[in-house]
C-alpha cells in the first residue's frame, strides 16, 4: 500500500494555515536572534499574518472542493472567513501594540504571539473541517491556545481564574464531543462528515442521536450557547482586552462556520432524498432545535447583560446574544437545499444562509473590534473597566465617546450602521421558512429591544452622568468644566485612527457595502452525488 503525497494543487489551498504554522515557529525562535524584544516577534507575527492573508485571498476564487482525502473542504465560504480572520487578527495585534503591549513582559511576548497565531490557525482549520477528526483537532487547536491566552495576565487573580474556568469547562466539553465523535465513527464506520450525515439521516437510532448530540455539545461550548455558556463572562472579564476581542469574534465566528458546515452536511443528505420523509422530519427537528437553542441563548445573554456593571462582561453577554442570533439563522440551513423536500416545501438555499452568516461576521468583526479597542484605550487612562468609571468620558475624550456610541448603536442594530443590515439579512433567511421563521423573527426583534437598554447604559455614563469617574489628580479631573475638553496626547492618535476605520467600515456596510461580496462568496461545498449543484444565492 503506497501512501499518496498530496498534490501541489491541494497544498496550495492550505497555504494560509501553513503560513500561520511557520509563523508560530518563527515567533518562538526570535529570542535566539534578539532577546527581550517586543517589536521583533510582533513584526514576525505580522509578516506571517500578511502571508497567510495573501494566500487566503489568492484562494478566494476556487470553487468548492474536498482535499486531503476528505479531511478539509476549501470553498469560497471557508476562504472568505479565513480572510476575515486574518484581517481581524492583524487588528487585534494592532490593539495589543497600542494598548496592551506594556502589560506583557518581553520574555512572554513570543509566547503570546505564538499562542495567538496558533489559535488563528486552529480557527482557520475549523472553518474548513469536513471530517470528524479534523473537527476535533481543529477545535482543540483553536481552544488550547485560547486557554493559555486567557490567563496571560499572570499576576492577577482574575486572569488565573478566567484561564482555569476556561480550561476545566473546555476540557469537559471537548471530552464529551470526542466521545460523541467516537460513537458516530463506531456506528457509521466512517470519519467522513457527508458519510456520517447520510447514515444519520437515513437510519436514525438513539445511539446515533446521542453521538450527534455530544458533537453539538462541543460546538455549543465554543459558541457559548446556553447550557455551556458559563465560561464566557468570566473568561472575557479576566483575560487581557486584546484576547477578549480575539475570542469574542474569531472563536465564535469559527464555531458558527463549523456549525454551518455540519448542519449543511445533514441538510445536503436530506436534500438528496436520503431517508425520505422520515429523514426530512428529523432535519426539521434538528433545525428547530438549533434555532431554539439560539433563541434561548440570545434571550439569556440579553437579559443578564442588563445587570452588568463591568463593560467587558457586558460585551461578553452581548457576544453571547449575537452568537444566539447567528444560531437562529444557521439552524435553518439544515432544511435548505436546491433539491429534494427542501426545495419542494421551502425556498431556502444554503447560499442564502452562508452569505448572511458571512455578512454578519464581517460587521460583527468591526463592531466588537471597535468596542473593545475603546475599552482598552479607556482602561489605559481611567484604569478601570467598570461602567461607573466611564463617567464624563465624553467630555474628556469626545473621540472615544462618540466612537463607542457608534459601535454600541451598531451592536444594537441602528439603521444606517452595519449591525442593522446584518440582522436584516438574518431575518430574510428566516422569512423563507414559513411559520417557524416568523416566530424566530419575533424573538430577534424582542431581543434587539432588550439589548437597547444595556447598549445605551455606557452612553448614559459617558455623556449624561454627572461627575467624573477617576480620582482628583487624574487627567479626567482637569477636564471638568474646561472649555477645551479633549486632552491632546491622552489617547494615542493611532488608536483613534483604528477606531475611525472600524466606524467607517460599519457605515460602509450599513449602506450596503460588502453584501455583494458576501453573496459572491457565500457558497458552501456539497458532496458530489448529493445536492447536485452548488447554487449561488439568488437575490434576497
Amino acid at each position: 500500500m503506497m501512501p499518496k503525497l498530496p498534490a501541489w494543487e491541494e497544498i496550495r489551498l492550505v497555504l494560509p494555515e501553513i503560513g500561520l504554522a511557520v509563523g508560530m515557529c518563527a515567533v518562538l525562535l526570535v529570542p535566539f536572534a534578539r532577546r527581550l524584544s517586543k517589536s521583533v516577534p510582533a513584526a514576525a507575527a505580522l509578516i506571517a499574518l500578511g502571508l497567510a492573508g495573501f494566500f487566503a485571498v489568492d484562494s478566494l476564487g476556487v470553487s468548492g472542493r474536498s482535499i486531503l482525502a476528505g479531511a478539509l473542504v476549501i470553498d469560497p465560504f471557508s476562504q472568505f472567513f479565513k480572510v476575515l480572520l486574518v484581517v481581524f487578527t492583524v487588528l487585534v495585534l494592532a490593539q495589543w501594540l497600542l494598548a496592551g503591549k506594556d502589560r506583557i513582559s518581553a520574555a512572554d511576548t513570543p509566547d503570546f504571539l505564538c499562542l495567538l497565531l496558533g489559535a488563528t490557525a486552529g480557527m482557520a482549520l475549523m472553518a474548513s473541517a469536513a471530517n470528524l477528526l479534523s473537527i476535533v483537532v481543529s477545535i482543540e487547536m483553536a481552544s488550547l491556545p485560547s486557554y493559555a491566552l486567557a490567563g496571560m495576565r499572570k499576576l492577577q487573580r482574575r486572569g488565573s481564574e478566567a484561564a482555569l474556568k476556561y480550561v476545566l469547562f473546555g476540557a469537559v466539553a471537548s471530552a464529551l464531543m470526542i466521545y460523541g465523535c467516537s460513537l458516530l465513527y463506531g456506528l457509521t464506520g466512517s470519519l467522513d462528515l457527508p458519510t456520517v450525515a447520510n447514515a444519520v439521516v437515513s437510519g436514525f437510532s438513539p445511539l446515533l442521536g446521542l453521538g450527534v448530540l455530544l458533537l453539538f455539545v462541543g460546538l455549543a461550548f465554543k459558541l457559548s450557547a446556553v447550557p455551556l455558556h458559563f465560561w464566557c463572562p468570566d473568561v472575557f472579564e479576566g483575560a487581557p482586552t486584546e484576547v477578549t476581542t480575539f475570542l469574542s469574534v474569531a472563536s465564535k465566528g469559527a464555531a458558527v462556520c463549523l456549525l454551518t458546515r455540519i448542519l449543511w452536511s445533514f441538510g445536503a443528505a436530506a436534500a438528496a432524498g436520503v431517508g425520505g420523509e422520515r429523514g426530512w422530519n428529523l432535519l426539521v427537528g434538528l433545525a428547530v432545535a438549533v434555532a431554539a437553542l439560539g433563541a434561548i441563548t440570545a434571550t439569556w445573554g440579553n437579559l443578564v447583560a442588563m445587570h452588568q456593571t463591568n463593560l467587558k462582561r457586558l460585551l461578553a453577554y452581548s457576544s453571547m446574544a449575537h452568537a444566539g442570533y447567528l444560531m437562529m439563522a444557521v439552524g435553518l440551513i439544515a432544511i435548505s437545499g436546491p433539491t429534494g423536500p427542501a426545495a419542494a416545501k421551502l425556498n431556502l438555499l444554503p447560499g442564502h444562509v452562508a452569505a448572511a452568516v458571512l455578512f454578519y461576521l464581517l460587521v460583527y468583526l468591526f463592531m466588537n473590534m471597535g468596542a473593545f479597542t475603546v475599552v482598552a484605550l479607556a482602561a489605559q487612562q481611567v484604569g478601570s473597566e467598570d461602567l461607573r468609571a466611564y463617567r464624563g468620558l465624553m467630555a474628556w475624550s469626545p473621540w472615544l465617546g462618540v466612537l463607542l456610541t457608534v459601535f454600541l448603536l451598531s451592536l444594537f442594530g441602528m439603521p444606517g450602521l452595519g449591525g442593522f443590515l446584518g440582522k436584516i439579512y438574518l431575518a430574510v433567511v428566516m422569512t423563507k421558512v414559513g411559520s417557524i421563521g416568523f416566530v424566530l423573527i419575533a424573538v430577534l426583534l424582542f431581543n434587539t429591544l432588550l439589548s437597547l437598554y444595556y447598549y445605551m447604559r455606557p452612553v448614559y455614563f459617558m455623556a449624561f452622568a454627572g461627575g467624573s469617574g477617576a480620582e482628583d489628580d487624574s487627567p479626567l479631573a482637569d477636564a471638568r468644566g474646561s472649555l477645551m475638553p479633549s486632552l491632546p496626547g491622552a489617547v494615542p492618535g493611532v488608536g483613534v485612527a483604528v477606531l475611525v476605520i472600524c466606524a467607517l467600515a460599519l457605515v460602509w456596510t450599513g449602506l450596503g457595502g460588502g453584501s455583494g461580496m458576501t453573496k459572491d462568496y457565500g457558497l458552501i461545498w456539497s458532496p458530489p452525488g448529493q445536492a447536485a449543484a452548488i447554487v449561488s444565492a439568488e437575490s434576497k
Binding site: L29, P31, L187
Partner: protein, 131 residues
C-alpha cells in the same frame, strides 16, 4: 467496517480477561490485606513511611514549578515517541525500491523538527536550568 450489529464480541475476550485479572488482583490484594491482616494501630506505627527514616517536616509545602515544567516537556516528547512507533513499523515496507523513500523519511523528520523547535524554545526559556 462492521457496524454494531456485526461486531464480533468474542474478539474482546482477551481484553475482558486482562481487565478482570488486573482489577481482580489489585482489589483482591487490598481486600485480603484488610481481612487477613492484624488490626493494630499506634502513633509510631501510623507515621508516614519514608523508607525507614524519620520524616522531617510536612509534605504540604510549595514545590518549585520547574519540576512540573520538566514533567510537561517529558510528556510532549513521550507522545512524539508514541507517534514514531507506527511509523517505524511501516517505514521499511514503504516504497521499497522507489526514489520516494527519502521523502517519507523527510516527512517524519519534519514532524520531529517541530518538536525540536519546541525543545529549543523551552531551552531558551530556561526550563533546563535547575539552580
Amino acid at each position: 467496517m462492521p457496524t454494531l450489529a456485526q461486531t464480533e464480541f468474542s474478539h474482546f475476550g482477551p481484553l475482558v480477561l486482562l481487565l478482570v485479572l488486573a482489577l481482580g488482583f489489585a482489589f483482591g490484594n487490598l481486600i485480603l490485606t484488610h481481612v487477613l491482616g492484624p488490626h493494630r494501630q499506634g502513633k509510631i506505627k501510623g507515621m508516614t513511611y519514608e523508607s525507614g527514616m524519620n520524616p522531617i517536616g510536612t509534605a504540604r509545602r510549595r514545590f518549585n514549578v520547574r519540576f512540573y515544567i520538566v514533567a510537561m516537556t517529558f510528556l510532549l516528547f513521550d507522545v512524539e515517541i508514541v507517534f514514531l512507533y507506527p511509523w517505524a513499523v511501516v517505514f521499511p515496507s514503504l516504497a521499497e525500491q522507489s526514489a520516494l523513500r527519502p521523502l517519507f523519511l523527510a516527512r517524519v523528520l519534519f514532524f520531529l523538527l517541530t518538536s525540536v523547535i519546541a525543545f529549543l524554545y523551552a531551552w531558551r526559556k530556561g526550563v533546563f536550568r535547575y539552580d
